[in-house]
């Protein structure tokens, strides 16, 4: 019901205003109306006329018969996002079939006394330099209708792993052995096919799930880290994704307004959870995990009324993070959802406080559906994170509503995400970001502020305590030396979490873990020249 309402909210305005917006769909820098050096502000009439004139010049490709196949490819096929963030797909396919891509994010972190980046003596007395991301991969564009990409997360491969053990305090027997810091090194690997129906694409492989807006590429983020919402569920999973323009059924003119994505995947997480042909869906880790096979469904619908990212004179679709450099206003509104019948894996949030474990916002299913059956019957007396015949499974439904808007350098984005279901802990989360891009020669300075909140009943005691609320402020400055290809980010993060203990009141207290982030990023695509818009 709610989904229906949301759907109508976003689709009905489109139907009403579609005709008016049609003049803006292909508006781009190449055809944008120049603002005169004025003396006099241009009259509305003259702007209108110029707009009409420009409109005739727009390369508005519709079918492959009207124009050459190459042009059709650039304007239509390339417009489909193979993976969010790859705004630089090749223009000349014959010469650029293979792209090598790489990204390094190196950062320095300095925190207050109680953060993990401090020895506890005085605030900000040390700087921890580390790699946030070292990614390397390739994109291969096959014969115009198929392609593949793979990316390796090198920063996860170079961490020295060590074995941790935990013994039973009473008997001394070994209870838990795990390889610390072992993380999946395969970041993303998938193949895609362009299908002739609804200009659609089918992806197979380890895919980026289409649920949250923030799950677009980290290369184009405005803050060094994603929001709390990101720490609820894994971002990648193995399965299939179908991407299509639903409006292409009605009219090819309006098709780019709405992009729909739907994915069905294992629900067992990406390579971080151990995947491959030898570890699959039915992996139970020597019987310690229940055998759960429920797939995860994710979907997302985005509505971009003013078009997407313009490159080489073509609208190549929405690429989150690139819109801040566009001259005209850009708006993207998205709704997304997720549904998992048996929640097998969750993500967690590391608050970087010494002595505090990762915080879990959702409760995953650790016992078989319907409860564990023993010779003496089923045990109802279990912790409320475990299943019983009455609490059959830990299911999760999530929905999100988000937007990004930019005009004349002003930037605003936000999202609201809510989870329901047995595994959800009634978690809800939201964030808002504002910024202002100041052009400086060919570069941009961008003061940015973000406020983010996550709340729920994380400790499952049927009420929201003050420990069930995390808030943080990000205040900082982005310096885009060459857009997202080379940028510096300096941020101060004020975190309000109640992870400490107050000696007087014996209640929780806010710990001092505010941090400075200084992050440098360089990205390359082989064959990617300086982007012209």
């Amino acid at each position: 019901m709610k989904i229906c309402i949301l759907f109508s909210i976003f689709i009905v305005p489109f139907l009403l205003f579609a005709e008016e917006d049609s003049s803006k769909i292909n508006k781009n820098k190449l055809t944008a109306i120049p603002i005169p050096d004025v003396d006099g502000v241009p009259s509305y009439k003259s702007v209108k006329e110029e707009e009409k004139k420009d409109k005739n010049q727009i390369k508005n490709s519709k079918t492959s018969e009207d124009i050459g196949l190459e042009e059709y490819y650039i304007s239509n096929v390339r417009a489909l996002p193979i993976s969010e963030g790859f705004a630089n797909r090749p223009k000349n396919l014959e010469n650029e079939k293979l792209l090598i891509v790489g990204r390094i994010q190196f950062r320095g972190l300095s925190g207050q006394k109680e953060s993990s980046f401090n020895n506890g003596k005085t605030d900000y007395n040390s700087v921890d330099w580390n790699f946030r991301r070292v990614r390397f991969g390739f994109i291969y564009e096959g014969n115009k209708w198929w392609g593949m990409l793979a990316q390796i997360a090198v920063e996860k491969a170079v961490i020295a792993p060590y074995i941790t053990t935990k013994r039973n305090p009473v008997t001394g027997s070994l209870e838990e052995v795990e390889l610390n810091k072992a993380e999946g090194q395969l970041y993303q690997a998938n193949m895609w096919f362009h299908l002739p129906f609804m200009d659609s694409m089918l992806f197979l492989g380890q895919i980026r799930l289409p649920f949250l807006r923030e799950w677009s590429s980290a290369a184009t983020m405005l803050t060094p880290e994603r929001s709390y919402t990101h720490s609820t569920l894994p971002q990648f999973d193995l399965g299939a994704q179908y991407v299509f323009y639903p409006l292409s059924l009605l009219s090819s003119k309006y098709k780019k307004y709405v992009l729909a994505r739907f994915s069905a995947s294992n629900g067992s997480g990406g390579s971080g959870q151990g995947v491959g042909y030898k570890t699959g869906l039915t992996e139970t880790k020597s019987g310690s995990n229940p055998l759960l096979v429920s797939p995860a469904y994710n979907w997302r619908l985005t509505y971009d009324p003013f078009g997407g990212f313009i490159r080489d004179g073509y609208d190549i679709g929405w690429h989150e993070g690139e819109e801040i450099f566009q001259s005209n206003q850009r708006l993207s509104i998205g709704i997304g959802g997720t549904y998992i019948r048996e929640l097998q894996v969750i993500s967690s949030y590391d608050p970087y406080v010494r002595g505090v474990s990762n915080q879990k916002f959702l409760a995953l299913q650790k016992t078989p559906t319907g409860g564990e059956i023993t010779p003496s019957g089923t045990n109802y007396l279990v912790d409320n994170t475990e299943t019983t015949p009455s609490r059959r499974r830990m299911d999760l439904k999530g929905s999100t509503l988000d937007f990004t808007y930019t005009i004349n350098g002003y930037y605003a984005s936000g999202a609201y995400t809510r989870f329901t279901g047995q595994a959800s802990n009634n978690t809800e989360s939201y964030y808002g970001t504002i910024g202002y891009a100041i052009p400086y020669k060919d570069m941009h300075w961008m003061p940015t502020y973000r406020y983010e909140v996550i709340e729920g009943d994380f400790n499952r005691n049927n009420r929201r305590d003050n420990t069930d609320l995390l808030r943080s402020h990000w205040i900082g400055l982005n310096f885009f030396a060459e857009r997202h290809l080379m940028k510096f980010q300096l941020f101060y993060r004020i975190e309000e979490d109640r992870l400490g203990f107050n000696p007087i009141t014996r209640e929780s207290r806010d710990v001092n873990n505010n941090k400075f982030y200084f992050q440098v990023q360089m990205v390359f695509w082989s064959g990617a020249l300086k982007m012209e818009d």
């Binding site: 190449l30 944008a32 120049p34 603002i35 050096d37 109680e114 506890g120 605030d123 305090p169 009473v170 450099f325 001259s327 406080v353 010494r354 002595g355 505090v356 474990s357 990762n358 915080q359 879990k360 916002f361 409760a363 279990v382 912790d383 409320n384 994170t385 004349n408 802990n425 202002y436 100041i438 052009p439 400086y440 020669k441 941009h444 003061p447 502020y449 994380f458 400790n459 499952r460 005691n461 049927n462 069930d468 402020h473 205040i475 400055l477 101060y492 004020i494 992870l499 400490g500 203990f501 107050n502 000696p503 007087i504 014996r506 207290r509 710990v511 001092n512 505010n514 012209e532 818009d533």
Partner: protein, 159 residues
């Protein structure tokens, strides 16, 4: 026609707002640093510290204090305090946990000679009363991190 982002007129429009943005951000940062002064000892802390230091811990061998709370009919969350420096754990237990609060239906507290990891807790956040001399570590267990150890739950008195 090539477009430039630093077009004169656009630049003018933006210049007006740059100052406001920068000032507001500076304001936020300064505000935060004013709130940072958490090392100043409050009157309550001073009083507690005085009470604790003046108590004779005698030959108490208490090393840790474990508090287990019932959050559902069979689900628990807990706290543990250990590694007391400057004060004795026994004195803190006697002062901060009056006998009537030690054994209620939803909260049970006990003192022990073992450390918190013996009772299944992990990590440990350092909490200071004085900022320099008096401190102890606090641990927690529950659904948001890891579940409380059965041994601690039994020892507290839940069956």
């Amino acid at each position: 026609m090539k477009h430039k982002n630093n077009h004169p007129m656009k630049h003018e429009l933006r210049k007006k707002n740059i100052k406001i943005f920068l000032i507001s951000i500076l304001y936020f940062i300064t505000l935060q640093f004013y709130n940072c002064s958490k090392d100043i000892i409050t009157d309550e802390e001073q009083f507690l510290l005085y009470t604790l230091l003046s108590q004779n811990s005698g030959n108490s061998t208490t090393y840790s204090i474990v508090e287990i709370n019932l959050r559902d009919f069979n689900s628990y969350e807990g706290k543990c305090l250990d590694t007391f420096l400057g004060i004795s754990a026994g004195a803190y237990f006697n002062t901060q946990y009056p006998p009537e609060s030690r054994n209620t239906s939803t909260q049970k507290v006990f003192e022990s000679n073992e450390n918190c990891s013996y009772w299944g807790f992990k990590g440990g956040v350092e909490n200071r009363i004085d900022g320099r001399t008096v401190s102890f570590l606090s641990y927690s267990c529950g659904a948001s991190t890891f579940l409380c150890n059965d041994k601690a739950i039994k020892e507290a008195g839940y069956d």
